[in-house]
């Protein structure tokens, strides 16, 4: 049952991509900006999770996997706050400055975040404390499912469902969708556009940070470059589903995770990343709006 095993692993990785892709797609939705710093916010989630967990373990003699829950909440809050700060400092002054300036600024923020991580935590690989690792699992139809995978999937799907309902059903969610269509008209409708954008920068990086911590827990080790590769993959997922489109990011992330894992399993693990990039190139050549995207890629 190698296929089933690959599918389970693929869905798990897909869930990570979804959590990160949501941040890209929401920011792109409201600002039409590729937030290159998003991957590094994700990376910071992993580091802040590490600090929080070590701190907690220092306080209590007996470690337990439950510590991950308060740590996730801390990570979510801190990374969301950093996200809002980044928007306030580096993106808001450039909102009317065309499209090139914010992209460069975003790359600059990415450099700053990476450099900070490298200088604070060092360039070597970091591992999460053993006490919080979850062992165990079960076999299902010949494929092994670890307890960790079950929790990853539960947490991701819970977050996705909450976000979807939030965007579709609440007033703020409606305002978000309006802002993504047109800033000026939203303002005329009495929407505080700046506030909505700030909220997007709370939610996107918040989810990204959580993903960072879960990924670090799942793989066990990471370093300061993890954000770049993972961020680019998640971004591909967002494009695949149709950027600016929240269900699209979910579909794209899952698809990318599955295709990549199957490709690595049946073709060659070395070419795994190439497969992801080729998907991106093909989708942009043949269907730049993505699978679920409706709007035209770029207006004249």
């Amino acid at each position: 049952m190698q296929f089933l095993q690959q599918m389970i692993n693929g869905v798990t990785i897909g869930a990570f991509y979804v959590l990160v892709a949501l941040g890209y797609t929401m920011v792109y939705g409201v600002l039409k900006l590729i937030n290159f710093a998003h991957g590094d916010l994700f990376m910071w989630g992993a580091y802040i999770g590490l600090t929080t967990l070590t701190g907690l373990l220092g306080l209590v003699a007996q470690g337990s996997a439950w510590f991950a829950i308060p740590a996730i909440i801390v990570v979510m809050l801190v990374v969301a706050l950093v996200g809002v700060l980044v928007e306030r400092i580096a993106y808001r002054p450039l909102r009317e400055a065309g499209r090139l300036a914010p992209v460069i600024s975003a790359l600059g923020v990415a450099f700053i975040l990476q450099s900070l991580a490298r200088n604070i935590y060092g360039a070597s690989y970091k591992t999460y404390p053993k006490e919080v690792a979850l062992g165990g699992g079960f076999t299902f139809g010949g494929a092994r499912v670890s307890l960790m995978q079950v929790i990853v999937l539960l947490v991701s799907f819970l977050l996705m469902a909450v976000l979807y309902l939030f965007v579709q059903r609440t007033r703020i969610g409606t305002a978000m969708r309006a802002v993504s269509l047109n800033h000026d008209v939203s303002r005329l409708m009495g929407i505080d556009v700046d506030r909505i954008i700030a909220i997007v920068f709370l939610i996107g990086p918040g989810l990204g940070g959580v993903a960072g911590m879960i990924v670090a827990l799942y793989y066990g080790s990471f370093d300061f470059t993890v954000g770049w590769v993972f961020g680019l993959k998640a971004f591909i997922a967002a494009i695949l589903g149709g950027i600016g489109n929240i269900p699209g990011a979910m579909l794209g992330g899952m698809l990318l995770g599955i295709v990549e894992t199957l490709g690595a399993g049946y073709l060659s693990p070395q070419w795994k990343d190439v497969i992801a990039y080729l998907i991106l190139i093909l989708i942009l050549i043949f269907r730049p709006t993505g699978l679920l995207g409706e709007r035209v890629a770029e207006k004249v």
Partner: protein
């Protein structure tokens, strides 16, 4: 200050161009080998910056995978030299051709994309090229460690070993580059690029073959980056996929944009900021990326036109930001 500048501008450009040339020739003489190498690197990256300037500055196409062509040029020269014993100087034109051809093949299908979409595909292509080199395709690229043992270039029986020779070679190619890009900018093609950059639909309506014009920008820029790659292979004699990594592409992109998009002196100022200063401040190396990032954010907020902008771009960016022309308000671009 302003007065001085305008007086400076009104002097015959030949005078200060000549002075700069003399300075470029004399500069390495009192320096040691390390600083000569730094100068060489500055010249090489200025050349790369100017090659990318054709794509980003003149034609307004966002290329964030330019380092791939630099890498491909280096690999072409290196592999031809190692496997076929072709002297390095003879591989230079071949590197140009291979990089230009690759530029043609890769960008031909994506020319219809604009703005940030184009930017993303170029990132993806750049990464694919790097991964192909890392994965040691057909067993000829040497994998992640790259290739070593490339011959030094030989000129009239003289093996060019010292950094100073390589520096002068780069200076010669730089002069050619500056001359060529300046002529290009003012040529019919250059004007077509400008038109495409400003308004592609209008350009098309005026009978400009936009596909061909954009393709030419990519091909010329990529080919020239390939040449720089071959020059790199000749001095360092070791090449690795790291040359094609995304960070390099970002540095090149920043050289152009922070220096001043479309500006030739801007490419030099950008190189000084992005390559030379970080190289000289080795002790600060750990924080290098952080400083670069900070500079990028600050520049975009405070001086988006770059440090030494071409007059045209400055006007364009500043007028868009500060004083919107009322005549543009009705027909002005939206979305």
């Amino acid at each position: 200050m302003r007065n001085l500048l305008s007086r400076f501008r009104s002097t015959n450009p030949l005078y200060w161009q000549g002075a700069l040339l003399v300075l470029a020739i004399l500069a390495p003489l009192p320096l040691g080998d390390y600083y000569r190498s730094v100068l060489w690197r500055t010249g090489l990256y200025a050349m790369l910056g100017l090659s990318l300037n054709i794509i980003v500055g003149y034609a307004g196409l966002f290329q964030l995978g330019h380092a791939a062509f630099y890498g491909v040029g280096a690999y072409t020269a290196g592999m031809l030299n190692i496997y076929f014993n072709i002297p390095l100087l003879l591989t230079l034109p071949l590197s140009v051709v291979v990089a230009a051809l690759l530029g043609y093949l890769l960008t031909r299908p994506i020319l219809h994309l604009r703005g940030d979409y184009l930017c993303i595909v170029t990132i993806a292509f750049g990464e694919v090229v790097r991964l192909v080199l890392v994965n040691n395709i057909f067993g000829i690229t040497g994998g992640a460690n790259g290739l070593s043992g490339i011959d030094r270039p030989v000129l009239f029986g003289l093996t060019l070993r010292e950094p100073i020779y390589h520096y002068y070679i780069v200076v010669i190619f730089l002069i050619v580059t500056i001359f060529a890009t300046q002529r290009l900018q003012e040529s019919r093609l250059g004007r077509a690029w400008k038109y495409v950059r400003e308004d592609e639909v209008a350009a098309e309506a005026m009978g400009i073959d936009t596909t061909r014009v954009k393709l030419l920008a990519f091909v010329l820029g990529s080919g020239w980056a390939g040449l720089a790659g071959a020059l790199y292979a000749g001095k360092i004699t070791v090449i690795s996929p790291d040359q094609a990594k995304f960070m390099e592409s970002v540095i090149l992109f920043c050289i152009v944009v922070l220096g001043g998009t479309g500006s030739i002196p801007g490419a030099f100022v950008g190189t000084l900021g992005m390559v030379t200063l970080p190289e000289l401040s080795r002790p600060l190396k750990a924080w290098r990326d952080g400083w670069l990032g900070l500079a990028m954010v600050t520049m975009m907020i405070a001086r988006p036109e770059g440090l030494w902008p071409s007059r045209h771009f400055r006007r364009e960016i500043r007028s868009e930001q500060e004083a919107p022309d009322p005549s543009l308000a009705v027909t002005g671009r939206s979305g």
